[in-house]
């Protein structure tokens, strides 16, 4: 017997309670129909342009390139999108889909708070009810975003079980969804979870890579040699990669969080150090113990602090089409300073992982043009950064 639909090689699928199966099929149908509807695309494009401020620039970061020893570094500036991260691209698309489906109550999970803020923002814009689940620990370390969500009219509910981070917020969001499935749309924030979410989120984030590809061509007269992005659940990375998958000459590189170091066990480097498992509706790579219990991830960056990863990344890693590496908390912090001082851009701790990796790329082979997704801005992380850099 074969396994269900929505597979990326052996990864993906729909591992959900029976109660949610009709809802996930309904979502599949609604997404397919929306894809065929020119009106849906037109509305989405209009909002991305007039509300989000797309296209975001591709910045030629010459002083950064020099500092890391690369020929060219191009920054895809998702930090300049409305609400300060790429998360809004996905939130707008899915909120429009929810409205099409007649669902007026939205639930979402958030780690760094960026997806929560993006969802709260779109719900305010479209007049939808919004409940965001967030781990207790993340509520503490991302306080400004909690306040933003509340200001936008969302209800923030604390997920106090388990590791009190993103994984537990997802558990709570799914519990809410299973309880209120008839009226509620689950607006998942990354390219993970059960089919069709990994595909929906990739398609909604594809705009990052599509713009970057055209902008690189305009700037360089050709494609970059390598495209990179940080990987939490994997949405900014898959959005960046999607447009380059068929360009055999473009290397793809995902950067995970090594936390205090992969060898210490306190990390979130799921592809680097994980194994095959089922978590949050998908078969993918997860951090787990011998008995299959999920291990708590660790990262200074709340948005990367997740012990799973989107199934397409697991497949890209297995096939070798993309390479995944990891960066420690300290390296990411140093990269925040480096980018701030060379380019005058304060980036999110998540994005700083991809910036930090540029040193290694430069040391390996500096004769390359690299396009990096700068997934978000750093305002939300100032507290954490001041505490750590002040030490």
């Amino acid at each position: 017997m074969t396994e269900g639909r929505g597979r990326f090689g052996e990864f993906g699928g729909q591992y959900l309670p029976e109660t949610l199966m009709p809802a996930i099929f309904e979502l599949e149908r609604a997404w397919d129909e929306a894809q065929k509807d020119a009106g849906f695309k037109a509305e989405l494009d209009r909002l991305l342009r007039d509300y989000v401020g797309r296209p975001t620039p591709l910045t030629d970061a010459t002083r950064l390139a020099k500092a890391v020893g690369l020929r060219r570094v191009l920054l895809k500036r998702e930090d300049l999108a409305h609400t300060g991260a790429h998360k809004i691209n996905n939130a707008i698309g899915q909120a429009l889909l929810a409205r099409r489906m007649g669902k007026r109550r939205i639930v979402a999970e958030t780690g760094a708070g960026q997806h929560g803020v993006a969802t709260a923002t779109v719900c305010a814009l479209l007049g939808l009810e919004c409940v965001v689940y967030m781990g207790t620990l993340d509520i503490q370390r991302q306080a400004p975003n909690v306040f933003r969500m509340k200001l936008l009219g969302a209800e923030v509910r604390e997920a106090s079980s388990g590791s009190q981070t993103l994984k537990d917020a997802i558990n709570e969001a799914i519990r809410d969804w299973v309880t209120n499935v008839r009226t509620t749309y689950y607006l998942l924030g990354s390219a993970m979870g059960p089919h069709p979410y990994p595909t929906i989120v990739r398609e909604l984030q594809r705009v990052i890579g599509a713009e970057a590809r055209a902008q690189s061509q305009a700037l360089l007269g050709r494609l970059p040699d390598l495209v990179s992005a940080c990987v939490g659940g994997g949405s900014n990375a898959i959005g960046m990669f999607a447009a380059f998958l068929d360009d055999a000459g473009v290397a793809l590189r995902g950067v995970e969080a090594a936390g205090e170091g992969v060898a210490t066990g306190k990390h979130a480097a799921t592809i680097t150090a994980g194994s095959v498992g089922v978590l949050h509706g998908a078969k993918t790579l997860v951090l787990q113990d011998e008995a299959g219990q999920i291990i708590e991830a660790h990262s200074i960056s709340a948005g990367l602090d997740y012990p799973g990863v989107g199934p397409q990344h697991a497949a890209l890693a297995k096939s070798g089409r993309a390479v995944y590496v990891s960066i420690t908390d300290q390296e990411a912090l140093d990269a925040v300073s480096l980018l701030a001082r060379t380019e005058g851009v304060i980036c999110a701790l998540e994005s700083a992982h991809a910036i930090a990796d540029l040193h290694r790329l430069g040391a390996e082979d500096g004769d390359r043009d690299v396009a990096v997704c700068l997934s978000g801005r750093g305002d939300k992380d100032l507290d954490t950064i001041i505490k750590r850099l002040g030490k």
Partner: protein
């Protein structure tokens, strides 16, 4: 006798006695490892027809706070699937009663589906309930369980469509588990008003007995289900009874509680 035969016998016996089969659930290793065996013995003494053993998992996304907490406690005590199989074997050997395991896909995947099937058969386990493994994804597990004579117990929900009920219930083995409500596990004060209609739709299509679970907590609930369903699964309420009793009184409290459910199911 195989596990599946024990299930059939248990439901036939309850039916012959004009009562609902009672299926208590207990998380293995809650409140501690040493008490599980005594608590299960008490549930059997109270008249349990089938025993459901909860396999603790770190991320129980279909469970409410009661089972979540019980799982956390069990995991803190280091309980594994192997421990659950050992508890199952002890009850089957000791009481000749059907035992089903209830848990999540990842615990079974990590153990290895083939090994689950072998070890479950050796332990005399009748079936497994996997809450996050819908029929679409169940092929590989079924391929291991069916030859071993172990049932993957199908779950049906109030949201399950008519054609899906026909497809799933029609092919079900052992018994079908009807989820009473849209939501997570947890004791409720009232059952949804439409459970009768839902269970009726399932029973019309199922060749095996139908058990209703999620939310059932009182003898009154059970009494209201006479003639509606073949059995009742009671989980969070069982855990609450154990939690609320003083350590020395837990087994007796559980025996009395299960006996009250059995009595309430008698017509």
């Amino acid at each position: 006798m195989t596990g599946l035969q024990r299930i059939a016998r248990a439901f036939a016996q309850a039916k012959a006695e004009h009562r609902l089969a009672v299926v208590p659930y207990l998380t293995v290793g809650y409140p501690d490892r040493a008490s599980t065996r005594g608590l299960l013995a008490a549930a059997v003494a109270g008249g349990a027809d089938v025993i459901e053993l909860g396999v603790p998992f770190s991320d129980p996304l279909a469970d409410g706070t009661t089972v979540q907490r019980a799982s956390e406690v069990a995991l803190a005590h280091g309980v594994t699937l192997a421990d659950c199989l050992a508890e199952a074997k002890a009850i089957v050997d000791g009481y000749d009663i059907p035992v089903v395991l209830m848990g999540y896909t990842n615990s079974l995947l990590r153990y290895g589906f083939a090994r689950v099937a072998d070890d479950a058969r050796a332990a005399g386990v009748a079936g497994v309930i996997v809450v996050d493994l819908p029929v679409e994804e169940a092929g590989p597990l079924d391929a291991a369980l069916v030859p071993a004579g172990i049932a993957r117990i199908e779950l049906l929900a109030p949201t399950t469509t008519e054609d899906r009920i026909a497809r799933i219930a029609g092919a079900a083995r052992g018994f079908v588990y009807c989820v009473s409500l849209t939501g997570v596990t947890g004791a409720r004060t009232e059952l949804p008003p439409d459970v009768g209609a839902f269970v009726g739709r399932v029973r019309a299509k199922a060749a095996v007995p139908a058990v209703l679970g999620f939310g059932i907590s009182t003898p009154e609930h059970v009494a209201s289900l006479r003639g509606v369903v073949d059995g009742v699964a009671v989980g969070s309420a069982v855990i609450n009874v154990v939690t609320n009793a003083a350590p020395a009184a837990r087994a007796e409290a559980l025996r009395t509680y299960v006996a009250s459910l059995v009595a309430a199911g008698r017509s």
